[in-house]
Symmetry: C2
Subunit: 145 residues, 2 copies
């Protein structure tokens, strides 16, 4: 039996489903949340810009091959329109490594669009949260702008 | 004589003015382009998240103290609504350093809102464009998501 995709009546509900799918590493659920839009853009932390759902699917497939991402979000700042909503959030990601478990913070801008099929994500831009004077960065991009 | 701020009838025009102000390091012009919004968000490459126009002004003041930023944009992907527009662009920034001049690429998500005073920028999220497998990054954030 095919599972029908849920219809989200708010961008907030779509965002909760987005991070839930990421947490669980659920590829079909994740991809059901994206707008079927050639202009859809996804930037993973330190990643290249991916455009279109096909490239975005491939990236999540690769990420989820290692399981879900232990992520919680906080500190939302929202611009809400009738057809477009923009959420900027802090992602707190639990990462297990050689040095034990640590929380890595990323900043994410998520854009949702409203359609007859409900709110879908159309842009996800995540980057590591940093200080502008981080001396460990290989290229001193802190003075770029 | 006080200069009156221009009124932009499109998000595209506001974006051109934004990068022109950055190019020239023009702080009054730059700040006239921002929406006067407590929810305004600015993330400079590798920077912390700045919220509200006061923090944003301070950051541009610091950046422009060293002059303008030699930046060109390319590859825009746009979501256009009646009240909100989202532009994702590649910033090509000319940086002079010990190793000569190089072009550093950043990815930027810019959000514009429409108001009686025209289109203003309300969110700028820029991060260095990377490949997910860049071995030089100090923290392996490539597997975060």
């Amino acid at each position: 039996m095919m599972r029908s995709a849920p219809v989200f009546s708010t961008a907030q509900a779509a965002e909760e489903a987005f991070y839930d799918a990421m947490q669980r590493g659920d590829l079909p659920e994740m991809m059901s949340l994206w707008a079927d839009d050639d202009e859809a853009v996804c930037v993973h932390p330190n990643g290249a810009r991916l455009v279109g759902v096909q490239a975005i699917r491939a990236s999540f497939e690769e990420i989820f091959a290692q399981g879900g991402v232990d992520v919680r979000i906080a500190g939302a700042h929202i611009q809400q329109g009738a057809m477009i909503a923009v959420h900027n959030v802090i992602e707190k990601i639990l990462v297990s490594g050689r040095m034990g478990t640590e929380v890595v913070e990323c900043i994410a801008t998520n854009v949702y669009v409203n359609s007859p099929g409900g709110w879908h994500i159309v842009l996800h831009h995540a980057s590591p949260a940093g200080e502008r004077s981080d001396p460990e960065l290989p290229v001193d991009t802190s003075t770029l702008h």
